[in-house]
């Protein structure tokens, strides 16, 4: 049907409400409606109400409670783009009735916050993790005091990049680092460079770009357009030098693959080329280098627990990180059965929504307590921060363990 096409547009998304047979499977799997009765569920907020939104202005609050995990769309047997329909509603509500909240405006700009905070990272970290500040922020800015805030890493990643030498014998590959790696998770970025160099690539890193997913998820689409265009311009230039763009955030890569056409109607050839050339790092390595890895990986003496982020499902690629980890000899690997850790990107940072995130994350917490792993792996940054905070166990990106296993 229409949704099967590679680049569905806004119109395709909204028309997909017709495919709904009301089967209710989406409601059975929605992590939010299964824990709170404030959110009516994806079937109701999505295709059901959409039939009426197109007629007249409804004053709605409930679509805001959708955390954008995309689980509903991945279980729908009728190809209804449920999450996207609800996000369209959020955007319309922003335009017509409500102004976006101050805290959401802040959260929608992680690249700006990152840059500012990294001017004096030590000071920024002190303030951010100070309980008085957290209380103050919770009361006045509605930033939940329980929200998992990361640490500013200063210019650690950029300094590492400066030391890299280009080897003309190697093949080029583009790495879209994203705001998390640029500002908070430099270790992941460093691991990517080391791993890909080891596999025979020159890594061309595009830093200081934001995929604008927080803006898209919360409905602030006008602001998202500029940021997205900047990203496309930058990556487009890089595509003169290489064929593939890899990303270490399953959320960012999903945005580039699918959301620019679905929400912003970017259907020009440049955007289409970038969508098709972007891959999750594990997806790419699995396609090209399994034989090499299988030969060279050494055992890891750690009990590993892997949680596939909810947005990974929307890629339709299964769990490539698991396939790679299973190449490690004698690996002790257990898999999460939870659909969502609860944080939902910036969703769980807002006061009042963090409780919902906690309730959603209960199942995952229980599984972690049961398996007692040494390290937890997850392909998406806010999920990692959330899981590490709740479990107290070090949470890394899968490629960090893969790198370790190669003894590089």
């Amino acid at each position: 049907m229409i949704i099967n096409s590679y680049q569905p547009t806004s119109e395709d998304i909204l028309k997909s409400m017709d495919n709904c047979t009301k089967c209710g499977i989406c409601n059975s799997y929605c992590p939010v409606s299964n824990v709170t009765n404030q959110f009516p569920g994806p079937k109701y907020s999505g295709p059901q109400t959409q039939r009426f939104r197109s007629l007249e202005d409804l004053v709605e609050i409930s679509p805001e409670l959708c955390n954008g995990c995309g689980v509903c769309t991945s279980v729908c047997p009728n190809e209804v783009a449920i999450t996207d329909i609800i996000t369209h509603a959020k955007s319309n509500l922003n335009n017509k009735n409500k102004k976006i909240s101050f805290v959401q405006t802040l959260l929608n700009r992680p690249d700006t916050i990152g840059k500012l905070g990294n001017i004096f990272p030590a000071l920024s970290n002190f303030i951010l993790h100070n309980s008085f500040f957290r209380y103050f922020a919770s009361q006045f800015f509605h930033l939940d005091s329980n929200a998992p805030l990361p640490n500013f890493h200063g210019k650690k990643f950029k300094k590492f990049l400066e030391k890299i030498k280009i080897d003309s014998n190697k093949k080029n590959i583009i790495y879209f680092s994203g705001c998390a790696v640029d500002n908070y998770d430099s270790e992941v970025g460093i691991a990517v460079i080391k791993l890909m160099s080891n596999l025979g690539y020159n890594v061309i890193t595009n830093t200081d770009l934001c995929c604008s997913l927080p803006m898209l998820s919360s409905g602030e689409w006008d602001a998202a357009i500029n940021r997205s265009k900047k990203l496309i311009k930058s990556l487009s230039r890089s595509l003169d030098l290489a064929e593939i763009i890899i990303s270490t955030s399953t959320s960012c890569s999903l945005t580039i693959k699918k959301k620019y056409s679905a929400y912003l109607n970017f259907t020009d050839p440049k955007s289409a080329q970038i969508s098709q050339s972007t891959k999750d790092i594990c997806e790419y390595i699995l396609e090209k280098h399994t034989d090499l890895l299988a030969k060279r990986m050494k055992p890891i003496d750690k009990k590993i627990f892997y949680h596939g982020p909810c947005q990974l499902r929307s890629h339709g690629i299964g769990q490539p990180a698991v396939e790679l980890l299973r190449l490690i000899p004698k690996i002790s690997l257990s898999l999460s059965e939870a659909d969502c850790c609860g944080i939902g990107g910036t969703y769980g940072y807002v006061k009042g929504r963090n409780e919902i995130s906690e309730l959603i994350g209960r199942s995952l917490s229980e599984q972690i307590k049961f398996h007692k792993p040494d390290v937890i792996l997850c392909d998406s940054e806010t999920c990692r921060w959330n899981i590490e905070k709740n479990s107290g166990i070090k949470t890394l990106h899968p490629i960090q363990i893969i790198l370790e296993s190669l003894n590089v």
Partner: protein
């Protein structure tokens, strides 16, 4: 305050469609003691089976200009007296390359004569607004078409009739009419539960639409009708924002009319003998799709979740020529010309002109009885609320405000348990279909797949004695009758899901005997 007066004659109106309800309302407002008798539920005949338009009259402006002028006047009146049932969406008349070239000029001239506002619009403006229209349209004319919710209309009329002292008897079948000395004396009716009654009267007005002939036969009278069946397909979203008509002599496959959240495309046209013929032949769906494709090239990709048919009762004039299209204006037949002094029939016309039809026949009645009370149905509003408007999303808005998401029974139309319990309190309901027609349960795209058993649970909870298996099967079977006609694409999935739930999961069995019973007419 009841307007009826014990000193006024007792009038029985046979037929509870728009016409019958309009007649009964006119009667009570003039003070007559009035009883309305309807075989099924109000509006379950032709009234609910049309294409949804409260037309401007432009459709008939060339073929029957006086009728078109009447339509326009009535459209203005009804939109003022019943705003909750009307949406003023406007309409376009579109010329395609294979349409007769001289028709548009005739169209413009006749609109002027009939005083119907008509303005030509630039094609690129039209295509910008109506993205689904084919690119090769030639000309477009804007007219003030509107959309009417016929269920809402008859319900409002019935409420007003009762508020003014009239009686409304639904689910009553007319068994016989007693006459004596060229006068009708009484009507014998039988209720659905088998209970018989005799109602005395001073006059009868026969407003039973396509059944007018059958009713007239009960008193050995003739009403010559040309019955034509027309089928309509429902598309599950608003493909267009206003009514789209073909700019040509009225024929089949002419109208796409949005109505609430759906879009109705119609109609076909086929002469039938039996007013109860509402079965759609498979070829009719193909005909409708091919006709729609001319205006909307992508129509076959869209989901149609139901099709229905209604029978138009047009009166055969005395000099009937098969080759000339029948006049659309209504007829009032005074049967005293054939020996029965107090029996009148009103038929023909359309939903748009139901009020003026009622006015005419009640005026005629007044003349015969020497009672000269003027008609006031054109000025007194049917609805009570001042800011009334048609708000299909009102149910959703209510739930969003109250946050009682749990309460929702019919998900497609956002009907809650509380809404249903309200209806059950206030009215005498025989079966699920009565509830359905009042409050749209089962009207949406899933056609009762999920709300069916939930409704049964509520009804049983209220200690209403029903045969569960039969009721659930009946409701499903009736919804299936219409929804299975368009079982292609996503609708095929819906039909099979509905089958899974009712037969494979619930354990019901749909057979020859229990499918498509005739006594469920709507």
């Amino acid at each position: 305050m009841s307007k009826t007066n014990k000193n006024m004659p007792k009038i029985i109106v046979i037929g509870g469609g728009a016409t019958g309800c309009g007649v009964a309302r006119d009667l009570v407002l003039r003070g007559y003691q009035t009883t309305l008798i309807e075989f099924g539920d109000l509006g379950s005949g032709t009234t609910s089976r049309f294409h949804g338009m409260l037309q401007s009259g432009a459709r008939y402006v060339v073929s029957d200009t006086p009728y078109a002028a009447e339509c326009f006047r009535e459209r203005e009146t009804i939109s003022k007296i019943a705003p909750e049932a009307v949406e003023l969406i406007g309409g376009l008349f579109i010329s395609l390359p294979n349409d007769p070239e001289d028709y548009p000029e005739k169209f413009i001239k006749c609109c002027e004569i009939a005083k119907i506002p008509c303005q030509e619009i630039q094609i690129d403006e039209v295509l910008k607004k109506e993205k689904e229209l084919s690119n090769n349209i030639l000309r477009a004319f804007q007219v003030p078409d509107a959309v009417i919710n016929s269920w809402q209309l008859v319900n409002l009329l019935a409420k007003d009739i009762k508020a003014n002292g009239g009686e409304v008897l639904t689910n009553h079948k007319v068994v016989s009419i007693k006459q004596h000395n060229n006068l009708v004396k009484s009507v014998e009716v039988i209720e659905k539960n088998g209970f018989k009654k005799i109602l005395e009267c001073d006059c009868i007005i026969n407003a039973s639409g396509p059944w007018s002939g059958k009713i007239a036969k009960l008193v050995d009278q003739e009403v010559e009708l040309q019955l034509t069946k027309g089928s309509v397909m429902v598309f599950s979203h608003r493909i267009v924002s206003q009514a789209i008509n073909r700019c040509r002599i009225p024929s089949s496959n002419d109208i796409m009319c949005p109505s609430g959240t759906v879009c109705l495309w119609g109609t076909t046209s086929e002469i039938v003998n039996d007013p109860d013929t509402t079965k759609i032949r498979p070829e009719e769906i193909q005909e409708l799709l091919i006709g729609a494709e001319e205006l909307f090239p992508k129509i076959k990709n869209y989901r149609s979740f139901r099709a229905w048919a209604g029978v138009r009762p047009l009166v055969k004039p005395k000099n009937f020529d098969k080759n000339i299209p029948l006049p659309r204006s209504h007829s009032v037949i005074d049967h005293s010309e054939n020996g029965l002094k107090n029996f009148l029939t009103v038929c023909g016309g359309s939903l748009t002109t139901h009020r003026s039809m009622a006015e005419d026949v009640v005026n005629k009645l007044g003349n015969k009885l020497g009672i000269n009370i003027p008609c006031s149905t054109d000025t007194i509003p049917i609805s009570n609320s001042k800011n009334a408007k048609w708000t299909p999303s009102s149910y959703f808005q209510k739930i969003e405000n109250q946050k009682n998401f749990n309460d929702v029974v019919c998900e497609c139309e956002a009907i809650t348990k509380t809404d249903i319990e309200e209806i059950m309190k206030n009215e005498n309901l025989f079966d699920f279909h009565d509830i359905r027609r009042r409050i749209r349960v089962g009207f949406g795209p899933c056609q009762g797949t999920f709300c069916n058993s939930r409704l049964a649970e509520i009804v049983v909870n209220h200690k209403i004695d029903i045969d569960i298996k039969k009721s659930i099967l009946n409701f499903w079977s009736e919804r299936l009758k219409g929804s299975i006609r368009t079982s292609y694409g996503d609708q095929a999935k819906q039909i099979l899901l509905s089958d899974y739930i009712h037969q494979e999961n619930f354990g019901l069995r749909l057979t020859e005997e229990n499918s498509e019973k005739d006594d469920i007419r709507a």
